[in-house]
Amino acid sequence: MTALTKSEMAELLYEELGLNKREAKEVVEHFFEEIRTSLEENEQVKLSGFGNFDLRDKSQRPGRNPKTGEEIPISARRVVTFRPGQKLKARVEAYARTR
């Protein structure tokens, strides 16, 4: 099965909501861009029924170059994590039971 991409998302908005193709493409683009902008500004994103995008600050920790074995610190960083909501988890589990 092929993955869902932005073009199929725009196609559905065109077919189901009657947006023209340019509007459909723009709104899909803005959907992801606004989420990224919010996260970039260190603001959590909560999409009820789907899930939350949270931010976690990780402190520096020791790492290793896997090729040379040399020790190099992994610098402190901020990462995005996704926590699926109850509704999405339940729908996915329901799928698993059909397999």
């Binding site: 909501l17 959907f31 999409l47």
Partner: protein, 98 residues
């Protein structure tokens, strides 16, 4: 940012679409994404990230109230892997204050 704030922010950028159209579009997008995962398929958005299902092996759990051992079946859980642009933009904000 909540779903309704997301709708407002997109509407503020969209001159031609009404707030109602943007609301319907956002709800349609989220429903299509949920449906895709619920049917076992992946979602791939370049520069944003990908969503897929991860399998959790069956395991023995415990009822926290009674302490009784219960068999938990294997299950699938949604997983998100941020894309490069997302990782870089979020990480660059570290150390800046808003």
């Amino acid at each position: 940012m909540t779903k309704s704030e997301l709708i407002e922010r997109i509407a503020a950028r969209q001159l031609q679409l009404s707030a109602k159209d943007v609301e319907l579009a956002v709800k349609t997008i989220i429903e299509q994404m949920s449906q895709t995962l619920a049917s076992g398929s992946r979602i791939e958005i370049r520069g944003f990230g990908s969503f897929s299902l991860h399998y959790r092996e069956p395991r023995l759990g415990r009822n926290p109230k009674t302490g009784e051992t219960v068999e938990l079946a294997g299950k699938y859980v949604p997983h998100f892997k941020p894309g490069k642009e997302m990782r870089d933009r979020v990480n660059e904000s570290l150390g800046t204050t808003f």
